[in-house]
């Protein structure tokens, strides 16, 4: 018997992982949630059939979306995380002792419950006393916030489905308003490779550029996401991601990472020419 999970990356490209067995399948108000176990990638979580994380490569995504803004901001105390019900971003954030408060806004409570039960590698810090979880639409939550957060991490799903509001100009504008005067917003920025993903990436980049004075993009290599080449957006009111980056200071914190390091931090902002062009087209 062979059981395979397959995700369509484009109408003409498929990506498959051989499944050992399925651990969970259920429908929430918002989406279908599945957890599988596999020989190659360990456990993995999918929402509406789209890959969210695997135990084998999630560290790349979670380290890159978290440590880049945390290393640039000189004193991040109050953090807002939108999405991220799997807990991976929380795991990385709670390693900073300077952080005083983390608000996590996840629209789907069932994602958190399922993650706590089946994905202990990521959902391991929900009980940290600094963490406060709100089950609410991020678009709604942030509308009411003003001049409040040092860092906002937008760990969204894709620009369709329940997460699509997190790719809109009204949302990025609300984030700008919710940040303190030197705040930083980082977001999951899709991939530049396949046409449809690239178009979505350009659309959100355009909207962020229009909302923030500083807006740069950095990359990482994530094997289980379409094309494996993934981008993150770095939007900021004051700090430049590399010019205002104090590598020595971050190293002093002694946070052990498997993907992120201070050289990679700077290097990740160096993008291939075709990506630079895609970005320039909309800037």
């Amino acid at each position: 018997m062979e059981l395979w999970f397959t995700e369509r990356h484009t109408p003409n490209v498929k990506f498959s992982i051989k499944v050992d067995h399925q651990l969970y399948s259920g429908n929430s108000e918002f989406q279908r949630i599945d957890v599988f176990d596999s020989k190659e990638f360990g456990r993995f979580l999918t929402l509406d059939g789209y890959m969210m994380l695997t135990e084998k490569d999630e560290f790349i995504y979670h380290e890159m979306i978290t440590h880049v803004p945390m290393a640039v901001h000189p004193d991040p105390k109050n953090i807002l995380v939108i999405g991220a019900g799997d807990g991976g971003v929380l795991r990385e954030l709670t390693r900073y002792s300077s952080v005083e408060n983390i608000d996590l806004v996840e629209i789907d409570e069932l994602v958190v419950e399922v993650s706590k039960k089946f994905l202990p590698t990521t959902a391991c810090r929900f009980d940290d006393p600094r963490v406060h979880v709100y089950y609410e639409d991020g678009v709604k939550f942030i509308r009411r916030c003003e001049d409040k957060y040092d860092v906002i991490i937008v760990d969204s799903t894709d620009p369709f489905g329940p997460g699509e509001g997190l790719f809109t100009k009204e949302f990025y504008g609300s984030c700008f308003k919710a940040l303190r005067e030197d705040g930083i917003m980082v977001n999951q920025h899709e991939s530049p490779f396949y046409d449809e993903d690239a178009a979505a990436m350009q659309r959100s980049h355009k909207r962020i550029v229009e909302s923030f004075p500083i807006s740069r993009v950095y990359q990482a290599h994530i094997p289980t996401y379409p094309s494996g080449h993934w981008l993150f957006g770095f939007a900021s009111k004051r700090y430049h991601p590399t010019k205002d980056y104090n590598a020595a200071k971050w190293s002093m914190l002694g946070i052990r990472t498997r993907y992120y390091n201070t050289q990679l931090h700077v290097g990740s902002f160096a993008l291939p020419n075709y990506v630079e062009e895609l970005l320039k087209d909309v800037e």
Binding site: D137, I142, R143, T168, K169, E170, F171, G173, S174, K177
Partner: protein, 481 residues
């Protein structure tokens, strides 16, 4: 076998036809789409397959005797009407048929001036003469309200020979008149009651909505099933009460109706009627819940005023349709039309319309909670990024017209073209309106005043989409010689 609301006779007949695999040597010439592959790829094979012409198994809208008649009977049951016609020329054709039924040349019809252009068009076609009742106006919001009962009573007294009274119920903004009392008054004086219920389909199926035309005892009503009812654009219902001779009405409808009615439109009416009859209550409860939520949140932003039942005054605002999301925008220093444009240009959100002081976002069961959140957040962002002080905003929205000539006479009269700046003091021979909502600022036969010119210029400057005049740029007006 007796039919019930779970049936959809036209839809079922089309499905049967599809299974029969009849070889088409009739129109339409695309032959189930095979003759026009680009269109078929765009619209889908299933859609092209049922784009067929009248034939025995499918009945004929001009003279229905089988499945269309059955479907119309089911619709009549669902709406509580004596008879219902399926209309494929939009609610415009239903409104025109109502007036053409009630009035011949020279007959008087009492109506509020803030009717849709389709009603005044019907006056041009029939030669009926309008007796306008000036609607009450809310000065703060700058919107026309319903007709007050006292004004209707006065109009009846002054024009005892009028044949009919026409009522907008609800208005675009969701405002209802005292339809029951107006109907009683009209019937006491032998006049028919015609209701433009274009925006009121859901009143028939939801709970807690204002009174429907049929429940109020009105004689005729035009219902835009394609607005809140979920059918395809351009499909509509004409509802008839007991006093209406439906066979004569069919002749009236056939004067202007196509003889090749689209089965896409007809089946969409049939399926939508079934859907609302079976689950309209839950559908509209959800719609109202979303509209109420949005209203509370928008009022929480500050500046904006999303109004509702608190406006009810027992007369010219006899009731309010809470499924409507109308928002007054002037306190944030932006005209409704400016907010409308910003929503689309900056935030990719298309709303129904914006006028001088208000916007209307159309909420329906097709909406998702997350889209409502986007709309609210976009409004909050517009206030943060573009908000100004309120000074210098024109508030006056509705201007009472001065009628100098009957619409038909003015439309066909000798005329000349004048630049806008020189037009004041003349009688206009054409329409000027913002679309949407399509309520004329000037109609044929009305006096052009400096106030109206100022309004037209302001609306143009703010970016309203103006229509109606022969001059496509609205820089000149046709006036009577």
């Amino acid at each position: 076998m007796a039919l019930s609301q779970v049936d959809a006779p036209i839809y079922e007949a089309l499905r049967r036809l599809r299974r029969m695999r009849v070889v088409p040597f009739d129109v339409p010439g695309h032959k189930r789409g095979r003759g026009n592959m680009e269109l078929t790829e765009f619209l889908g094979e299933d859609c092209m397959n049922v784009d067929v012409n009248s034939m025995k198994p499918l009945d004929n809208l001009c003279h229905p005797v089988s499945v269309i008649r059955d479907a119309e009977m089911l619709a009549a049951q669902a709406f509580g009407a004596a008879n219902v016609f399926f209309m494929v020329g939009g609610t415009t054709s239903a409104v025109q048929s109502m007036i053409m039924y009630a009035c011949k040349e020279g007959d008087k019809i009492i109506m509020p001036r803030n009717v849709h252009r389709s009603a005044i068009n019907a006056l041009i076609l029939t030669g009926a003469v309008p007796v306008y009742v000036d609607p009450d106006v809310n000065r703060q919001l700058g919107i026309a309200l319903g007709m007050s009962v006292a004004q209707v009573e006065q109009a009846i007294k002054d024009n005892p020979d009028a044949k009919a009274i026409m009522v907008n119920n609800p208005t675009y903004y969701g405002i209802c008149s005292d339809l029951k009392r107006i109907t009683e008054l009209a019937h006491e004086h032998g006049m028919l009651v015609l209701v433009d219920e274009a925006h009121g389909t859901h009143f028939y199926f939801g709970e807690g909505f204002p009174t429907t035309a049929m429940a109020a005892g009105a004689d005729l009503s035009s219902v835009s099933m394609h607005k809140s009812g979920g059918s395809l654009t351009q499909s509509s219902f004409l509802l008839m009460g007991e006093r209406i001779n439906s066979d004569y009405m069919r002749q009236i409808v056939n004067l202007t109706q196509t003889t090749s009615a689209s089965y896409l439109l007809l089946s969409s009416l049939d399926i939508s009627r079934k859907r609302l009859a079976l689950s309209g209550r839950e559908i509209f409860a959800q719609t109202v819940e979303m509209a109420e939520y949005a209203r509370d949140e928008i009022n929480g932003i500050g500046g904006y005023y999303a109004y509702s039942k608190e406006l009810v005054n027992g007369d010219s605002i006899f009731d309010f349709d809470v499924s409507k999301l109308s928002v007054y925008t002037l306190p944030i220093g932006l005209a409704g039309i400016e907010v409308y444009d910003l929503l689309r240009d900056e935030y990719d959100i298309q709303i129904e319309f914006g006028d001088i002081g208000n916007i209307l976002a159309y909420v329906s069961v097709g909406d998702r909670k997350r889209d409502i959140e986007r709309l609210i957040s976009a409004l909050a962002e517009i206030k943060r990024r573009f908000g100004k002080t309120e000074t210098g905003m024109l508030t006056q929205e509705y201007i009472n017209p001065i009628v100098a000539e009957a619409p038909r006479k003015a439309f066909y009269a000798q005329k000349r073209s004048l630049p806008l700046s020189e037009a004041a003091g003349n009688v206009c021979s054409e329409f000027v309106m913002c679309y949407p909502p399509g309520i004329p600022i000037l109609a044929p036969g009305e006096l052009i005043t400096p106030e109206i010119i100022k309004y037209i210029r302001y609306a143009k400057e703010k970016g309203c989409q103006m229509t109606g005049t022969e001059d496509i740029n609205i820089e000149r007006l046709n006036v009577l010689v």
